[in-house]
Symmetry: C2
Subunit: 419 residues, 2 copies
């Protein structure tokens, strides 16, 4: 009860409620897709609130929101915090939003301690890939790796381009990447960047840990697999005459799992998230099957090695079964090592406030990946119930929300007042 009072819980809950009024659907899920009217309204709401409490507000060329609480000593490089407000379709109330509102609330609470260092909250645009099949747009733009022309190629289901959507939200996509050069230079001189996010996995909850301090963000290595055999009549074709693409694919899917498990201790995960049988029917021996493979790891060399072993096994299974296997590389990104300075700051903060923490890696991509290309950056996770995310059932405990508030407030106090 005391903690709730100390951290102005009711006010925090009210802001949380207000933000999630934008895009809540009838099932209680969040439909606040990137650059949608609801997303823009949520940005507007937070900008207005920030202005009302005396923070400085601006929008950059990618329509990211910059909310600054000025410190008394302008010679100190500012600290950046942030996350995103957009959601997947029928998503949850915490993915991204928890990080933004925890940081915003901590900035408000910080003011009672007369901070010397300025704090800037970055609300990144379009972290989720759901609408435009491209993730972490706002942070990529700040890192200078998104060009205006390419933004025209990404389109949503209604053929609205990312370019149009960004422009409609007040961004200036035509000026990218140069239009964000000034912001990038500001960031480069910053003290560091800190994101708080729900884990979206079960590790913290299972181990009863309050804060997960992320040391590295895994990169996905993705391939599309097409297996071709020979379609046949399920009744008329004897077992030993078959070139069944689905039983071949099944063996391959198990090989992906087996290799993922074999390297699990080294933070590898390997997943087949879909399986499509064109013209599949109960009375047909499948002639072809398609499935994607998503392999992630935090060690780029190991990741490539495991991907190589998986590809080798897929080919061997195909050969053994008389199936052709076509592989298409979809992406091969590099894992990102995060700043140990920021990780240490987060760990000290946990010790100070007396909550448990653990060093871990992130299997999911985050805006922090791109901030890490510009300045010292780090991200911490808080547990979410049963690890459920990207789902209206996504939830966190009050305890977790309070831990996050206490952690972020203390982190800002350490870095902005004791300097």
């Amino acid at each position: 009860v005391n903690r709730k009072e100390n951290y102005y819980w009711d006010m925090y809950q009210q802001i949380y409620e207000d933000i999630n009024s934008f895009g809540r659907n009838e099932n209680g899920g969040m439909d606040r897709l990137a650059f949608s009217e609801e997303d823009n309204k949520a940005h507007d709401y937070l900008a207005r609130l920030a202005t009302e409490v005396g923070f400085l507000v601006k929008q950059d060329g990618a329509a990211n929101l910059w909310i600054t609480a000025k410190g008394s000593d302008e010679s100190l490089p500012p600290i950046y915090v942030g996350s995103h407000l957009d959601t997947v379709p029928d998503g949850g109330r915490f993915d991204g939003t928890l990080g933004v509102l925890t940081a915003f609330h901590a900035m408000l609470l910080l003011q009672q301690y007369a901070p010397k260092r300025s704090v800037t909250l970055l609300v990144f645009r379009c972290e989720e890939s759901s609408r435009f099949s491209c993730a972490t747009i706002g942070s990529k733009a700040l890192a200078g790796i998104l060009h205006g022309d390419r933004l025209k190629q990404y389109q949503d289901n209604d053929n609205i381009s990312l370019f149009e959507a960004m422009e409609n939200a007040g961004g200036k996509p035509a000026l990218l990447p140069e239009g964000l050069t000034e912001e990038r230079k500001l960031l480069e001189k910053g003290f560091g960047f800190v994101e708080l996010h729900i884990e979206q996995g079960p590790v913290l909850e299972t181990s009863h840990t309050a804060i997960g301090i992320v040391e590295a963000i895994a990169a996905p290595y993705r391939i599309k697999v097409q297996v071709n055999g020979m379609a046949a009549h399920s009744g008329a074709c004897p077992m030993h005459h078959r070139a069944d693409a689905l039983t071949g694919a099944a063996e391959m899917i198990l090989a992906v799992e087996r290799l993922g498990r074999q390297y699990a201790e080294q933070s590898i995960v390997a997943t087949v998230g879909n399986c499509v049988v064109p013209n599949g029917a109960i009375n047909i021996v499948p002639g072809s099957v398609e499935f994607p493979v998503d392999i992630r790891g935090i060690d780029g060399t190991l990741l490539k090695q495991v991907a190589g072993e998986i590809i080798q096994q897929l080919k061997e299974i195909g050969e053994k079964r008389g199936l052709t296997v076509q592989l298409q590389l979809l992406s091969a990104e590099e894992p990102v090592k995060l700043s140990s300075k920021i990780a240490d700051l987060m760990e000290q903060t946990c010790r100070e406030i007396g909550v448990s923490s653990v060093r871990m890696n992130s299997g999911a991509g985050q805006d922090t990946m791109y901030m890490a290309q510009i300045l010292d950056a780090g991200i911490c996770f808080v547990p979410c119930i049963k690890g459920i995310s990207h789902n209206r059932l996504e939830n966190v405990t009050e305890e977790t929300m309070l831990d996050g508030l206490e952690f972020m407030t203390e982190l800002l106090r350490r870095s902005c007042c004791r300097c």
Copy 2:
């Protein structure tokens, strides 16, 4: 060359060409769906041709076509031959049609031998399940197991009922099943029923055999399987925290194959023809998967035993992996033993004309299954190229067509003239 002349190859080819002008699509595939305008035209064409050559023609209450070549001795029970003219969408030129036209042509050729016994060609309606999700309608109706009311429940994609379609083709569905009692009584007194059909599988081609004499038709035992685990983020959920419905399903699909192979010598086939991952995506650990299992065999007791073993393994795999497995029985039919009298007649015929034959079973269902409920019935297969069927690439060699003609003509000669 001699054989072609003996069997009036050019005339046969012309009839074949004429029939397949009804419903041929631009890709060369056949779109002659049951009771479609094209199907009705094909029936009309054959009825007209039969009348022109002096055969007796009638249509029964299910719109099946009866074409009779009268023999000189009316005291001899007639022999029945037949197959179907309807095709799957974009189907081939031989499935069903080869049997009808081989029999029709053999009836023509038979006339030079002054047959004593009458021959009746039955052209069954709606053998394929493609249009109304119900197969072998015409033969089921003759067997007395199709009721007019139930025909209203089967509808095509345009909401036209089987009842309407049958009526439109000249049938009298409202009078079923009683409306075919007279025909059934005629059939019961018949000498026997013989169907010729393409194999729709690779066995005959692979073993270089001209005629497959079917001893039993397998029955399908079909179940629908739903596997439920827990959807999770493919990056954020470590391998040992997962309840992956797809890797579970993959293990189950391989178990189905393994048991099918284990009992292959006893004519069991077991197939998973489809696999659906609802909300499947590259970055999601699948939370649920659905797939059908089709198990077939010619020994009803063994079929149930194998189905039981498969179900047991699916449950064990689910339990081991922490997945729930829901099973729904779709159908459990009885295999059909065919007449040894007809099989012997077919074998003697092969010996007489000097073509190779083999006793085998049919994994696919056929109209003969329902004729076998009424009188001595048998079906023989001829090879189709690479076993391809239900596909516009379906094909047979000229050699196969001539073997079929010679076989059917000799079979009719043996049974209609040497008596």
